[in-house]
């Protein structure tokens, strides 16, 4: 590679890596996790490394500080940091940079802090080690750092143990740790993936602010294209351990030149454009990296592949300064960008978008009325309180959580209702309540006209046939000791639908519906990829010919290119079989893509609901507006100016007085929000918003996705 992207701006690069290769010895030969990756970061720039699982992106990040175990064999042609050659002897030199000149922030803040040590002491460690501070000096500096990363009450947080902090607070504390010794380069490995979008937005804002203030360079690893576009100046797209495209982020995202980059962008559902035509998933799966093909590594999955692709592809500089590993790059970049191809679809396609409000009971498949669920926490004795203030010292007062609080919802036949909200808002609990996997504490639930609220197990049986569920993690919901055939067949036999040869034929038919070949019936779950496993879960759910399926974060664990295929499949099944879905997701883009109607949940209650097009455009509930503002969407980076931000995090539990969103609401009116339950306003039939703000004020809010949004 002649000119790494970072080198063009501002002289000598801070970090310059050329030909980085990481290999693992496996029983089947050498596995090349990273193959000849080259990149550079100029001072003050942010480089994003984007890729799906198995791309080797985290491996690259770990190599910089030599955090891979001794089993990883690493080599490079050039590896310099601030002009210092780190190749000789490589590990010792890179170890010496750890924590002060290069600092790292890990993916899951929940596991990156040591549970047995106070947060403040963990932040102080590098200060004591690299800056020679005493305990007291370090403790004072820790408070400053915590205040700088926006933590209120730094003293309390410093004295706390990690489990006492929320995810966002932990990530802030980890960023404070990384900042401590004023490093030149900060490596962030999926720093916001484990967080809710609103918290993610806070952390990204924080990073932006710190970067400017400390002249930090950033290496940002993520699978999320939207996040990368928001944070990074340059981007490296990694596929199967190779950098397939590299260049300025704006260029790469606007006119991707490598078919894989195009595929990624085409797979991406967007909240700004709901119910559009189909996504374009990338077919096939990652090649076996122990036997990588000699030619283009992407050839097997590439729609542009031809004979010339059998030759090894080297990174090639394009005229605009990008480097691409594809000999047809110019021709491909000249084609229409995948984003625009999607926007041509009519905005309100779909049967229900123009439909009647979903409140009337007539024809409702699922009718949920004022359903609530209160959980008691802890074991039998958890509620014991010792109160010596007088009388008998023992009281029992079991801690309670009101997970779902008086929710009413309708799902009509063939309709997709999206349920969105941050973690802990009660959306999964609601899904389980509807299927009676857990008992509601109050309210009424009817499925296809049968009241199931107090129904016995026997009475539930016919209803169970009608309503099925697909869970987030197929690994835990598919029995690893059964073949796919047995798994899909089980509900057939359980409900007496088919037996013997008939069941056999039905299994093949069901596998066909989810686009799996009949041979899959003989395989075991561990032989399947994540996407294939989720197809099996869907096939199993379809076995009883249900009218309704609850999809609980069913695509959240999948890579975007695989998720796109599953979303397409779900859309097809809805159209062909007329199944209704309750689509539970934290991802507004997924919801927007598939749902006819959307319900937004906050702290156990629905704060806004209505047809997707109306929920995704003003008037918004302030919470919906904040959620939409928080989602990083590729191609809509410029809307940063009008973003609203939520402070703090969702705190569940407890009784609610006034508006349940009042403590975080950016548009809070005043005391009325704390004391009075907000009224429900209906800007359009079937579109309901629970807020004290007058409708005119809500209508006056500019659309989050700007004029570009189809429903502005």
């Amino acid at each position: 590679m002649s000119a790494p992207a970072g080198q063009d701006q501002g002289g000598a690069p801070l970090l310059d890596v050329h030909g980085l290769t990481v290999e693992y010895a496996t029983g089947r030969g050498n596995l090349r996790a990273v193959d000849g990756a080259s990149f550079a970061i100029a001072p003050g720039r942010a480089l994003g490394i984007v890729g799906e699982s198995g791309s080797g992106k985290s491996t690259v990040a770990m190599t910089l500080l030599d955090l891979l175990g001794p089993e990883a064999g690493m080599s490079a042609e050039r590896f310099t940091f601030e002009g210092e050659d780190l190749l000789d002897p490589v590990a010792a030199r890179r170890k010496a940079l750890r924590g002060h000149r290069i600092a790292m922030v890990f993916q899951d803040p929940g596991s990156a802090l040591n549970p047995a040590i106070q947060v403040g002491r963990q932040i102080a460690e590098p200060l004591i080690r690299h800056r020679g501070m005493t305990q007291t000096q370090a403790a004072a500096r820790v408070q400053e750092l915590l205040a700088e990363v926006g933590i209120p009450r730094p003293a309390d947080v410093a004295a706390a143990y990690p489990h006492q902090l929320s995810g966002g607070m932990k990530q802030r504390a980890l960023i404070a740790t990384a900042l401590g010794c004023e490093p030149r380069l900060m490596v962030l490995d999926e720093p916001t993936t484990a967080l809710d979008v609103t918290i993610e937005a806070q952390i990204l804002d924080l990073l932006e602010q710190l970067r400017g203030k400390h002249d930090l360079s950033i290496l940002f690893v993520s699978h999320n294209l939207g996040v990368i576009e928001r944070v990074c100046d340059d981007v490296c797209v990694l596929y199967a351990g190779r950098v397939v495209e590299q260049g300025a982020a704006a260029q790469v995202f606007a006119a991707p030149a490598h078919p894989y980059t195009r595929g990624l962008l085409g797979s991406l559902p967007r909240p700004s454009a709901q119910r559009l035509s189909r996504l374009t998933p990338i077919p096939g799966r990652l090649p076996d990296l122990t036997r990588a093909p000699a030619g283009c590594i992407f050839a097997e999955r590439c729609e542009h592949a031809e004979a010339g692709c059998g030759k090894p592809q080297e990174p090639r500089a394009l005229a605009d300064g990008r480097t691409v590993r594809c000999w047809k790059a110019e021709a491909i970049a000249a084609g229409a960008p995948p984003t625009q191809a999607m926007a041509e679809a009519p905005p309100d396609a779909g049967p229900a978008a123009a439909g009647a409000p979903g409140t009337t009971d007539a024809g409702a498949l699922i009718a949920v009325d004022a359903v609530g669920k209160t959980f008691r926490l802890g074991g039998m004795l958890a509620g014991l309180r010792f109160d010596f203030s007088g009388g008998f010292p023992l009281r029992t007062d079991p801690p309670k959580v009101r997970a779902v609080d008086g929710v009413s919802l309708r799902v009509r036949p063939g309709e997709v209702v999206g349920l969105v909200g941050e973690s802990g808002c009660g959306k999964s609990t609601l899904g389980r309540l509807i299927l009676r996997l857990i008992e509601p504490s109050d309210g009424r639930i009817a499925i296809d006209g049968h009241d199931v609220t107090g129904a016995s197990v026997a009475a539930l049986r016919p209803v169970r046939r009608l309503a099925q569920m697909v869970f987030q993690n197929p690994d835990s919901s598919l029995n690893p000791r059964q073949t796919i055939g047995q798994i899909v067949r089980r509900p057939l036999e359980l409900f007496g639908i088919a037996r013997g040869a008939e069941a056999q034929a039905k299994v093949v038919e069901l596998l066909g519906m989810v686009r799996l070949a009949p041979e899959y019936a003989q395989r075991y779950p561990h032989q399947l990829s994540g996407g294939e496993k989720q197809r099996v879960s869907i096939a199993r759910a379809l076995a009883t010919s249900p009218k309704f399926i609850v999809l609980d974060e069913a695509t959240s664990a999948l890579d975007v290119s695989v998720q796109a295929a599953i979303l397409n499949l779900l859309a097809d099944l809805r159209d062909r079989l007329g199944v209704a879905y309750l689509l539970i997701s934290h991802d507004l883009s997924v919801i927007a893509h598939l749902a006819d109607r959307v319900a937004v949940m906050y702290r156990g209650a629905v704060v806004e609901e209505g047809p997707s097009a109306q929920v995704l455009a003003p008037p918004y509930h302030p919470y919906t507006e904040a959620l939409l503002s928080a989602v990083p969407v590729v191609g809509l980076k410029d809307r940063a100016a009008q973003r609203v931000r939520l402070k703090g995090a969702l705190i569940g539990g407890g009784a609610v007085r006034g508006c349940r969103f009042a403590d975080r609401c950016p548009r809070r009116i005043g005391p009325i929000c704390d004391t009075e339950t907000p009224p429900v306003v209906e800007p359009a039939p079937g579109h309901r918003i629970a807020c004290h703000l007058p409708l005119e004020a809500l209508r006056a809010v500019p659309p989050v996705f700007g004029a570009a949004a189809p429903h502005a």
Binding site: L65, S111, A112, R129, R153, S166, F386
Partner: protein, 318 residues
């Protein structure tokens, strides 16, 4: 924390009551009456009846139970039938000797077991680890009594370095005391050390693969600090639970070892009581062992709670 403590203490009390009922019940269903045993086989029926009357053996069972159990609460364990002496001092002496055996063994198991476990985890996949693993599996698989015999044959019979059996009090000199301890302790600890080190190794390995250990390394902390400050405390939590379970195994082992080495401890005394149908002695012995075992578990639970910040500090800060 206080609530937790009270909750645990209540449980312990409950277990002890149930155990005492069980132990008491055994004497009720065992063949032959206590009076019969005291008077010997040539006693007449009248003599037996008279003695049963004086001992209160004709009272309803709950009266007898209460008399027996309340004695325990004030330290009166009754009279030994075969030795014609009060049980409390007998048991106290034997308990002291057993405690020396158990304490010494437990100390070795905890220190050496944990240390070998950490060593195995740090050197995972290398020669040291493999060599340790072979030794550990071997010692786990072979039962204690085998080591009794091997050790006695080697050190006592063949080499003549150590006494084969018996006990010498500390007043006979420390070295003499110690020479009698070596073989029993050696027998007891081998299997347990292997067990504890195996489990510590896997706990430690898991911790070493955690993100917070990577994070500690990424901070530039020396490997020593990473290991002792970041990894070990978290690996010790599961080890505490294992050690508590091993106390039970240790007690079982002590009975065997005391009998084989003719070591005058509590285990041997209980075996003696059973063989000679000395019911009061047996009851007292078994109850004491149960009490100690429950207390050991209580201590382990409290230690666990104390070492685990999640239990120690529940409330959230932000």
């Amino acid at each position: 924390m206080i609530g937790y403590l009270i909750q645990r203490l209540l449980t312990v009390a409950g277990i002890l009551v149930v155990m005492s009922l069980l132990v008491f019940g055994i004497t009720q269903v065992m063949p032959g009456s206590v009076a019969h045993m005291i008077l010997g086989e040539f006693a007449t029926n009248d003599q037996i009846a008279a003695l049963e009357q004086t001992l209160g053996l004709n009272d309803p069972w709950h009266v007898q139970y209460w008399r027996w159990a309340s004695g325990f609460l004030v330290g009166d364990f009754g009279q030994s039938l075969t030795m014609q002496r009060p049980i409390a001092p007998l048991i106290l002496d034997a308990l002291g000797r057993s405690a020396a055996l158990a304490g010494l063994s437990f100390g070795f198991v905890a220190v050496i077991g944990l240390w070998l476990g950490i060593l195995g985890a740090v050197k995972a996949g290398r020669f040291t680890d493999h060599a340790l693993a072979i030794g550990q599996y071997f010692f786990i698989a072979v039962p204690e009594f085998f080591w009794c015999i091997v050790l006695i044959m080697l050190f006592a019979t063949t080499l003549g370095w150590l006494p084969a059996t018996g006990y010498a009090p500390m007043s006979d000199g420390f070295w003499r005391w110690l020479s009698h301890m070596v073989l029993p302790v050696g027998t007891l600890v081998t299997g347990l050390i292997a067990h504890v080190s195996r489990l510590t190794r896997s706990a430690m390995l898991e911790v070493l693969q955690s993100t917070y250990v990577s994070a500690a390394r990424a901070k530039g902390l020396p490997e020593r600090t990473v290991l002792w400050r970041h990894a070990l405390p978290n690996a010790l939590l599961p080890a505490i639970t294992v050690l508590a379970v091993d106390v039970g195994i240790l007690f079982g082992g002590i009975v065997v070892v005391e009998v084989v080495f003719a070591y005058p401890g509590l285990g041997r005394m209980i075996v003696y009581a059973i063989e000679n149908k000395d019911l009061p002695l047996m009851q007292a012995g078994v109850l004491i062992v149960t009490a100690i075992y429950t207390m050991a578990n209580l201590v382990a639970d409290l230690l666990y709670a104390w070492a685990n910040p999640r239990i120690r500090y529940g409330r959230s800060v932000a």
